[in-house]
């Protein structure tokens, strides 16, 4: 068990200009479950592989516990890694796969047996110990990969999209199992996924990456409620946050036929960067359907209604807008599932007080409210 520290860690692949991971600063606490999330190609796997020693660190440093591991070989880092394709050894039985690391360390045979059996019990794999990976289902293979990491009793678990090869239902089951298991074992874990739902449900904290640059690290709830910039706001949450650009006149943002008052701090920040437009965001649950003439409300034409039983979501277009930036943009709002509006209907939405999030058009950063 150990703290993991990325200190300005940078990786530039040979033959490329832009760093795949750019000065990553991350302090992962002892026993913490940290999720690295971001769109495909943002540098998640590279970050993880740098920690594993499978990828060179071209700048900065990485430490596990008190030890600087920046230039150590993978074998000297005392870590265990679960790969996306599981990387089970096809020529070895499940038991041999799980005990492999201990065998390489030349642990006594009885101890290997004991630890393999223990992990197999934990993961419901006891009856498959003699099988070859080929004769297992996808879910069982995934558990063997987990088992192989557990048996190792490492300082840190590294997992690179370990659930992405499972079907949707199994993925949901397994993600709670992995999270519970990690809490029980208390081993520091760095978990990579492109799926923000996975990130939000599993992580103690979530680090959002984009183009190799860390955007924000925080608890799932704080990421959701206080995104640091437009990217995080749009990436976290499903359905995603409504983000649109509005002109600012005086101390108000102009929402077509109505206006939203901006705070003095916001206006001040806008003045400093010299912008006369602002990005205003609100979550689908941050609006309500209101009657005609309600102050601060704006009209939306319903294009689709998604009914999920416990929830219903309205997808619409800004009606009456003359602003070319907003023409054709979709608005998503959660509506009462018992009386959802009809397709084609025109409704008025109002942002609930305090639910709007304001971002700079220039930098994308959140503006002080």
């Amino acid at each position: 068990m150990s703290r993991v520290l990325y200190d300005e860690a940078t990786r530039v692949y040979p033959g490329t200009e832009r760093p795949a991971v750019d000065a990553l600063d991350l302090d992962i606490h002892d026993g913490e479950f940290l999720v690295l999330v971001g769109p495909s190609g943002c540098g998640k796997s590279t970050s993880l592989r740098m920690l594993a020693g499978l990828e060179r660190v071209d700048g900065g440093r990485i430490a596990i516990g008190d030890r600087d591991v920046t230039h150590l070989a993978p074998r000297d880092r005392d870590i265990a890694m679960v790969f996306q394709n599981y990387a089970l050894y096809p020529h070895m039985s499940v038991a041999d796969n799980m005990g492999f690391a201990l065998r390489v360390m030349k642990a006594p045979k009885e101890e290997i047996d004991r630890r393999v059996k223990e992990a197999a019990g934990l993961l419901d794999l006891t009856e498959f110990l003699d099988r070859k990976p080929k004769a297992l289902s996808g879910g069982q293979r995934q558990r063997v990969a987990m088992g192989r990491a557990i048996v190792r009793e490492p300082k840190v678990f590294l997992m690179d999209e370990p659930l992405s090869n499972l079907d949707a239902k199994l993925r949901v089951q397994t993600r709670t199992q992995i999270a519970a298991l990690q809490r029980r074992l208390g081993v520091t874990t760095v978990y990579v996924t492109h799926d923000q739902v996975e990130a939000m449900t599993m992580g103690d904290r979530v680090a959002v990456l984009k183009d190799g640059v860390l955007q924000q690290v925080d608890t799932p709830l704080r990421l959701y409620q206080h995104p640091a910039n437009v990217f995080v706001a749009g990436f976290i949450g499903s359905p995603s946050m409504n983000l649109a650009e509005y002109p600012v006149e005086g101390d108000e943002a102009v929402l077509d036929d109505t206006r939203v008052r901006l705070s003095r701090e916001t206006i001040q920040a806008l003045k400093e960067e010299g912008g006369d437009r602002v990005i205003l965001g609100f979550r689908p649950e941050g609006v309500e359907v209101v009657g005609e003439g309600t102050p601060g409300s704006f009209p939306v034409t319903v294009t689709v209604v998604e009914e999920l039983g416990s929830d219903a979501f309205l997808y619409g277009q800004y009606a009456d807008t003359t602003d070319p930036v907003r023409l054709g943009q979709t608005v998503i709002a959660r509506v009462d599932p018992n009386m959802p509006p009809a397709k084609g209907e025109r409704v008025r939405l109002r942002i609930l007080p305090g639910k709007e999030r304001l971002f700079s058009v220039v930098s994308g950063r959140r503006l002080p409210a």
């Binding site: 040979p14 033959g15 594993a52 020693g53 499978l54 070989a73 993978p74 074998r75 880092r77 870590i79 265990a80 890694m81 790969f83 996306q84 394709n85 990387a87 050894y89 096809p90 020529h91 492999f100 690391a101 390489v104 360390m105 070859k132 990976p133 080929k134 192989r148 190792r152 590294l158």
Partner: protein
């Protein structure tokens, strides 16, 4: 032929060999039921395939069988104007080969040593170099791979003369090590190229997983990668063995009385006074049969090996 050659790769799992994937279902329609047009045509295809296989078998087997039969005939029967299918078999031809001044024994020993050791070396070195080639990210990797295999494609005549001069300088003429080296000139590039294709099939996450688990590079190669390419190793070994075993061009230039191989012995039977067909077919049999047996013994690996793929068991 494109100039940037990559090793052959086909991610084909063993359960679906090419022939199998397209094979029509074997279960015939119950008797008495009308045949659908579809089954009718698949039936015709099957007949055609069978016919082609029979022709191909005849084409390859008849000469071999004839050679085998002739090697057990006496001189009259061998050269009889009308082919003789029924005769009383004799071991005379073989007896003659192993007696007298020109005993075949040493030739066999030379062949086994030269071909066997050169194939072993080719597989060993080829596996190491092929692994490196498969895993390197260096620039010009494809060109390097092509250059390596192109040395295999160079005509032997172009290699023989410079090699002869080098070997003479090193005192390697008429020696088994000389032959082994000569065979390595064509077997090693082939082995590197073929093995690198097998290694390229093994996902690199397997060795990365081993590295993280505590292996050194060498341990990861030895404990995880090499066992997975067993069929590749066997395939490469057998092919290298056959190439070296069948060689005549190098042997006739580099070998002397103390290193002559079986193909040389065969050629010596073609003398100015005539050809001893009986003994010639007996040598032919001795040359061909071991390779056939070796091929049969490792048939299982050869099939998966020659179709590549099949390593991860996915």
């Amino acid at each position: 032929m494109s100039t940037s050659m990559t090793p052959p790769a086909s991610p084909m799992p063993p359960e679906t060999l090419p022939g199998e994937a397209t094979r029509p279902p074997v279960t015939a329609a119950p008797r008495g039921e009308a045949q659908s047009p579809l089954e009718d045509s698949s039936r015709r295809t099957r007949w055609l395939v069978t016919l082609l296989i029979v022709v191909a078998l005849l084409w390859t087997l008849v000469p071999l069988v004839w050679m085998l039969m002739s090697s057990f005939k006496n001189a009259e029967a061998v050269t009889a104007a009308t082919p003789q299918f029924f005769f009383s078999p004799t071991l005379d031809n073989y007896r003659n080969l192993f007696s007298g001044a020109n005993n075949l024994g040493p030739y066999i020993v030379h062949s086994v040593l030269a071909a066997g050791i050169s194939a072993l070396l080719a597989v060993g070195l080829g596996a190491l170099a092929g692994y490196g080639l498969a895993r390197t990210h260096m620039r010009g990797k494809k060109h390097l791979a092509f250059w390596i295999i192109s040395t295999r494609m160079a005509p032997i005549a172009a290699v023989v003369v410079p090699l002869f001069l080098i070997f003479r300088g090193l005192g390697l003429i008429d020696s088994i090590p000389g032959l082994i080296l000569a065979y390595l000139t064509f077997n090693l590039p082939f082995a590197i190229w073929l093995m690198s294709a097998f290694f390229a099939e093994v996902p690199s996450s397997l060795e990365e997983s081993a590295l993280v688990a505590g292996c050194s590079r060498w341990q990861a190669f030895w404990m995880v990668i090499l066992p997975l390419t067993k069929s590749g190793l066997v395939t490469t070994f057998i092919l290298c063995l056959v190439f070296a075993w069948n060689d005549y061009a190098f042997a006739v230039v580099f070998s002397g009385p103390s290193s002559q191989t079986l193909p040389i012995a065969a050629s010596q039977l073609v003398t100015q006074t005539g050809i001893d067909w009986g003994q010639l077919t007996a040598i032919g049999t001795i040359v061909v049969v071991p390779m056939m047996l070796a091929g049969l013994a490792v048939r299982r690996w050869l099939v998966t090996g020659l179709t590549l793929g099949a390593i991860t068991g996915e």
